[in-house]
Amino acid sequence: MDGRSVSAPPAAQTSRAPGAAFILKKALISAFVALVLFSLMIGVRTEAGPQGQLVYWTRFDDLAVMVAAVFGGSILVELLRRWWGPVDTVRVVPPSVQSALSLARRLVAPVLLVFTFLVPVLFYNERYILDLAILVLTYVMLGWGLNVVVGLAGLLDLGYVAFYAVGAYSYALLATNFGLSFWICLPLAGILAAFWGVLLGFPVLRLRGDYLAIVTLAFGEIIRLVLINWQTLTGGPNGVTGIPRPTLFGIPLTPADDGLAALLGIEFSPTHRIVFLFYIILALALLTNWVTIRLRRLPLGRAWEALREDEVACRALGINTTTTKLTAFATGALFGGLAGAFFATRQGFISPESFTFHESALVLAIVVLGGMGSQLGVALAALAMIGGFELFRGFDQYRMLVFGMAMVLLMIWRPRGLVGHRAPTVFLKHSQAISSDLVKEGHG
């Protein structure tokens, strides 16, 4: 740190780097504020005694630790800020580092894909990791689906879980009532969800931004409430049980005589089914990704992005904004529905409890965190959110706190999400990504 300040010009040093006294003063003020705030929150603990009287005891050691942490943290933040320089500092990255970074960036997606394919092989004996991987992939798929609506078309949808629910219940009810197989119900669930997507789309055609968000939020709640209250059809809060598992071309993955294990002459293991489920959701997620990438290169996908950029301009160009919005809703809902059907078959049991607003918020957070419209970013964000959430299990009661803090920090440092740049879809000769850092939001 000292070496740095010596090499900096003296004038810049005085204006940019605050002295030790300043840092100490700031830390002391922070510590004092923390002391006042925490003295009652942490310093004194109250509880109702056995006779209902007030019992309290002091925890000054905890208080001291908290205040010390704030004091030390404040110094640390100041030092970091000093090292990092003022907000507008332009850092020159050497070309060798730049090329290495761009190579790494290009390799992330393929490496991640190959690794994902190998997960069941690498972790065959670790059921926990396999289950977690399936969960992550489900959210990757949901994220990619919502990305069409929010990331590409710019329509803020807070009720995405509704389509997830429609897909799940479509499969569950069709399978338990009519005995249809997973592979027949899967497209049906997708189509039904897309149909509901269009149904939602019509009334909100004229809405944008906050208003759209509120209506979609309500839509998600309506679907959930219908599921709870339409007892004769959905079983209400009890949900639907005994949802059949998927089969491999009609061959069940069970220990029965006609099961896959018996046919192949190998010993049955419940892991077979987990691995099978893993590859189903991987295929579904990759399908979502492939369709989205293809659509982005077509006029329809381009119209979605244009719609996000400027709806008035779209109309001035004669783009049919009605069909553009409805197809975005329908496409997003379709993928949500497929993911829902998968969820139902994986769980074997679904109830309205699985489809609360919390899920919508989580998927939306994945899309925003990943960088709106970026496929790789959404995948990384899903991994970080779902995987990270599991990782923080060790923090116990502080899990949500740590998690929230991590999100806030990420949004401060990378306000456009993990992968903030947008790759153009029309090329002249070579593709060229433009870093979001060089472009201001909105108008140039």
Binding site: R302, A306, E309, L317, G318, I319, P424, I434, G444
Partner: protein
């Protein structure tokens, strides 16, 4: 006599209760540049947008090439190859120049060959855009964005091009380039242009004919040079509102 390319008869349009167009008559012949000038809030932009179907006409009639297009939805009007470069340019800032241009061709049924020849035409007119092909629209300068907005409109191979305030917020030199480009388009390709402008001097010099709009009504019309000579025009639009 042949009918005009665009014929507007006693057109009325309103936003809620406020009437913006109170019976407008206007003709544009094929191959003409027509300028529409007037003060802020006179209804110039509304007229242009009403031709394009939004807001809808309350009364009156709009005919394009002999076909009644009153009340036809916007995207179908675009298919008849009427193109618009909206006020304030309104390019797509996060999309590349190439994508912005492709968007212009998307509303009409354009084949790959149409798109390629359209691009060639735009680049011939505005070579600057070719250099900026992979750049984001938002990183262009104001003048380049205006070129992009016009280029985007040209990608639909329009029979009628409507430009709303193409010189808005541009340095005089850049504005002149834009006007020169419009003149070139008209002379070389015989493109019919309706131009809405506050910059009355420039617009009337460029145009074959002009219309003056006041409070939702056409109050004067004539050839560009005729209008430029009229004392009331000079007083109202060219000499800073001074009365002689």
């Amino acid at each position: 006599m042949t009918h005009p390319l665009l014929a507007i008869r006693s057109l009325r349009a309103a936003y809620g209760k406020i009437e913006a167009l109170k019976g407008v008559d206007l003709d544009i012949n094929a191959g003409e540049i027509v300028a529409l000038i007037g003060a802020n809030g006179a209804g110039k932009s509304t007229l242009m947008m009403t031709i394009f179907g939004r807001p809808r006409a309350r009364a009156g009639r709009i005919e394009f090439d002999g076909r009644d297009i009153t009340g036809v939805p916007t995207h179908e009007i675009a298919r008849l190859r009427i193109a618009q470069s909206p006020e304030g340019r309104r390019i797509f800032p996060r999309m590349s120049v190439a994508e912005n241009l492709q968007m212009g061709a998307d509303a009409t049924d354009s084949s790959e060959a149409d798109r390629a020849s359209g691009l060639e035409r735009v680049f011939a007119l505005f070579p600057r855009l070719k250099e900026r092909m992979t750049q984001r629209g938002g990183t262009l300068s104001g003048g380049e964005q205006q070129m992009l907005a016009i280029g985007r409109a040209l990608m639909s191979r329009p029979r009628l091009l409507m430009l709303d305030e193409p010189s808005l917020g541009l340095a005089p030199l850049i504005a002149r380039q834009i006007f020169d480009a419009i003149r070139t388009l008209n002379r070389q390709d015989g493109l019919t242009v309706l131009i809405v402008e506050q910059n009355a001097n420039h617009a009337l010099k460029l145009a074959h004919r002009g219309y003056v709009m006041v409070n939702g009504l056409i109050t004067l019309s004539g050839t560009g040079s005729e209008l430029l000579q009229r004392p009331e025009i000079r007083a109202a639009y060219l000499e800073g509102g001074r009365r002689e």
